[in-house]
Amino acid sequence: MNTTIARSLLRDAYYQVVDNLGFRILAVLFLLPALFLLLVGFREDGIWIARYWRWDYADWLPDAAAAARALTPTDIAEQRLKLLESLVDVVLYAADQYGTLFGIAAIAFFVPQMLERGAADVVFSKPVSRLALLLSRYVAGLVFVGLLTLVLVGGMFVGLWLTSDYVEFGLLWSVPTLVYSFAVFHAISCTIGVFTRSSIAAILLTIVFMPFNCGMSVWYESHAVQQHEEAQRVERGEAPRERDLTGMALDTFVDAYHLAMPKTSDGMLIAKKLRKRVERQEAEFSDEELGLSVAEAPSGFTRDVRSSFHREGVAWIAPHPSGGGEASWRFKRESVERAGKRSDVVKQLRKDLGVEAKLVTLSGVSANRFEWREKRGEEERLRRKWVAQLDDTLLLIDYDAEAKWAEDAANEHAARVFAAGWTIEAPTARRLEAQSYDGLFGWDAPWRFNAALSVGTTLLFIVAMLALGWWRLARIDF
């Protein structure tokens, strides 16, 4: 097949898609979340409608106690991020589930229509191989869902960026992963279409397969985690669990099914992981072990490259314009074994500083916040200190600046913006996640949780499906 023919088939695929009523309806539906996010802005200072009306987040918080408490910038940022992430997750989940369903229903006729008497005679008499024609219809489906996904994800990305001032490049990973998930079911639909030459059969059988495969994935995930725990038990020297013949047969079946069949639910998981990875790559500072991430450097501050999180603490420093001592932010970790528990450290600080600590949350993690002033030479300094405990590690955050400079509205705002960019994953949540399928799943994980194996075998399944369709198509006498 030369490039002229390939181009013509691609153009045909495009025309077929944009003429499709289902595509137009879905395009409008997919535009709605983008329009919503263009209209409603979730900004740091509240929720904005059409950039005109504004509500405070405190008015929307369900927790009365939290609303009553003075909200820290981290609290606000946390609520805002949670809200935006939930919104994006819900829309993407709906797009993955319902979008795939409607997409299949809207385009399942592509192949059967091509094989109808009269239509097939015209198309298959052309000097183009049957494989190329089958692939052109398959690509038409991918164009269909690709354009819709671009509308949805691209629209949401732009909406969040322009109206909510929230830029998440990781969101764009959802485009290929949604197409990936759809590509599996579309390959099945195309092959059924070739065998039955019926749109109804293609839709029904694909739709029946979708929940079945999803159910099998859920079964596999629980089975894989059990197998992992079993392996850990054996590693610890405990006796392995007794399995009867039926149990072993079921284990083999579920493993074999997982290897041979498509793993579409892993697609969303991969998208989530890729989003996280992009966030981490973009972060000014992050520590995987502690689950800490600092989005960006405080405005006007420069990171001290010699500073280390594990020793004296990672520091950002800004010289005061007035020529006084420099201002600094410092993040430091200490082992509980060496420094004592959080309650002991807080007690000691309270005694040493003579001030009470406020109980705050830092990105969902409970912390104590001290604020005090101290004289250093001629200067009065404003000091703030946060103490949080993450399992057997203490996280200590220090702010030290000349008081007048720090209280300047612009500098205070910069400090709040900086604090809003801290993300700390709670240890319990991290532990739970680490023992779940989602947590164990990764590019370098063992084979049961390996993302590369998941993607590879799924792509192989798509190729096998299309090869089966081609095998049948090559044998049809029109």
Partner: protein, 315 residues
């Protein structure tokens, strides 16, 4: 120039499997052998179920033969490269409804290997030729049956093929359109293309085709030029001026089946009687303006052959 025939079919058969595992076969095409010379307009005739469409589909690689061989322009029919030189208008064709006439012609032109530049010139020409210029930018789903047939003919010719296979090309086309199709076929012949027509409209075939094949129950029962298939009946039509009132007296008991008409008469005559008839008329001072030897028309010949073929197959 290549001397191989445009279409060459040798002992070609197609048996469709039926029943469990295809054990009960139905023979659609039974050891058909035929040859179509380059530049010829060739007609394939036969009653419904004669195997004409199956034969055409085997020529285009749309159906696989059970046995035998077929070649197009000297190449095996399965070769996609040879299909680049063939245009096909199927019976009851369905063109992509989501495309406009222009988009469809561009698509099929490119599928046949034409470049966009080439098509930019070719598409308006062919639209003009089939009388579809005004409807070219409308979606195919909006076309009437006649328009669909015309644009279908255009897609078969868009890449200027050497062989064009037309299955019922005038189906659903009005008389003016039919005349246009005849003209197009004539034009193709003048260009040197080979035209293979499968049609039920025998009058059309008689007007257009150089040679025809008649198939019955999957077999070729007759092949030849139109003249060969339409033998003389032995009746002659005489055009006279003036028509004498005593015509029967002048002719006496010559011939049989006398029929008078306004400008002359018709009579069944042997070759010897024909000379005598002319002599008698001239001797009576009658001016003979014309003598026409009557032949069977294609439809009559076709019906006779089909009946004979069906009886032969039954016995």
């Amino acid at each position: 120039m290549n001397s191989s025939p445009a279409i060459s079919v040798r002992e070609l058969s197609k048996v469709y499997g039926r029943g469990l595992f295809g054990a009960e076969g139905v023979t659609a095409v039974d050891r058909v052998t035929l040859e179509v010379a380059r530049g010829q307009v060739f007609g394939l005739l036969g009653p419904n179920g004669a195997g004409k469409t199956t034969l055409v589909k085997m020529l285009l690689g749309l159906a696989r033969s059970t046995s035998g061989a077929a070649q197009l322009l000297g190449q095996p029919v399965g070769d996609p490269a040879v299909r680049r030189k063939v245009g096909y208008l199927p019976e009851g064709h369905r063109l992509p409804p989501y495309l406009t006439g222009v988009q469809m012609l561009e698509l099929f032109g490119q599928m046949c290997g034409c470049e966009r530049e080439q098509l930019r010139k070719r598409v308006p020409e062919i639209l003009e030729q089939v009388g579809m210029r005004d409807a070219a930018k409308r979606k195919i789903r909006e076309y009437s049956k006649g328009m669909t047939q015309r644009i279908g003919l255009a897609q078969a010719m868009i890449h200027e093929p050497d062989v064009i296979i037309l299955d019922e090309p005038t189906d659903g086309v009005d008389p003016v359109g039919r005349a246009a199709v005849r003209q197009i076929v004539q034009g193709l012949k003048e260009r040197g293309a080979t035209v293979f027509i499968n049609s039920h409209l025998l009058a059309e075939v008689e007007l257009i085709c150089d040679r025809v094949v008649i198939m019955v129950k999957g077999k070729v029962v007759r092949e030849g030029a139109i003249d060969e298939l339409t033998p003389r009946t032995g009746r002659y039509r005489f055009e006279l001026h003036p028509v004498p009132p005593n015509l029967r007296v002048i002719l006496g008991d010559l011939g049989a089946g006398f029929e008078a008409h306004a400008s002359g008469f018709e009579l069944q005559l042997s070759d010897a009687e024909l000379d005598q008839c002319i002599d008698k008329l001239r001797a009576a001072g009658v001016s003979i303006r014309g003598v026409l030897a009557r032949r069977l028309n294609l439809e009559q010949a076709f019906i006779q052959l089909v009946k004979a073929g069906q009886q032969g197959a039954a016995s």
